[in-house]
């Protein structure tokens, strides 16, 4: 057994979203949102499909996971009805990103909204999920 460090820390290496169709999801997450494909490995009828931010190619991966499990549909429908996003992506300029995505046909359930420490917005990822964008305000604001 490896020697334990005094200060063990965990990093978030991978998190996942269920998507209706993995190929459509890959297209949306790369072409529209701007992520980069990291892994695309056949697994039976599906794929181990992950994307990363081009700014952090070794950073946390987002797994675009098949949504065939029967629990997924009611889970996502109930959350979408209440407008609850399943992931949050950070951007430098949320107004510009909002305008860019709207011009690409992306539907927002919440436009950029000032909530004090940050500006947030919520959009539909066309794969069954709501996603929150956040622009943190700098300390000087």
């Amino acid at each position: 057994m490896a020697q334990q460090k005094d200060d063990p820390t965990m990093k978030i290496a991978l998190t996942s979203l269920f998507v209706d169709d993995q190929r459509a999801a890959l297209a949306f997450y790369t072409d529209v949102l701007g992520f980069t494909k990291r892994h695309d490995i056949p697994l039976g009828d599906d794929f181990w499909l992950t994307v990363v931010s081009p700014e952090a190619p070794e950073g946390p991966e987002l797994l675009l996971e098949p949504s065939a499990h029967p629990a997924v549909k009611p889970y996502r429908e109930a959350l979408a009805e209440d407008g609850i996003p399943l992931a949050q992506f950070a951007v430098d300029n949320i107004e510009a990103e909002h305008a860019r995505l709207v011009s690409r046909g992306v539907v927002f359930t919440q436009p950029p909204t000032d909530v004090g420490v940050a500006v947030v917005a919520v959009f539909d990822d066309t794969c069954g999920n709501l996603i929150q964008l956040i622009e943190m305000k700098s300390a000087g604001d």
Binding site: D82, Q110, V115, V120
Partner: protein, 106 residues
Amino acid sequence: MICKPSLAYSVFVVDVFRALDDETRRLVLDELSVRDGQTLFEICSVLTMRHGLSLTRQAISQHLGVLESAGLVVTERRGRAKFHFFNRDPLSEITGRWPSRKTTPP
């Protein structure tokens, strides 16, 4: 017999007054006045971040239910999400009963 229409009216107005007799519900209407058509998630986040309220999502959902049964909030499903809108019509019933008077200076 002549009381019946006014009885229905009172029950209706009582619901409106009860719905308004709560600071959280008044804040919900304030926020919907600023931006109409919000999801439960958005209402929760603005109440928490702008007004410092620490209510559960379930509690806010119940407040919205009270406003909706009084007719002050109506909901509409667009796509997969449900949006809440401020309906001012019940308020005009109140101002109709006690219309504001233009005061003329003496």
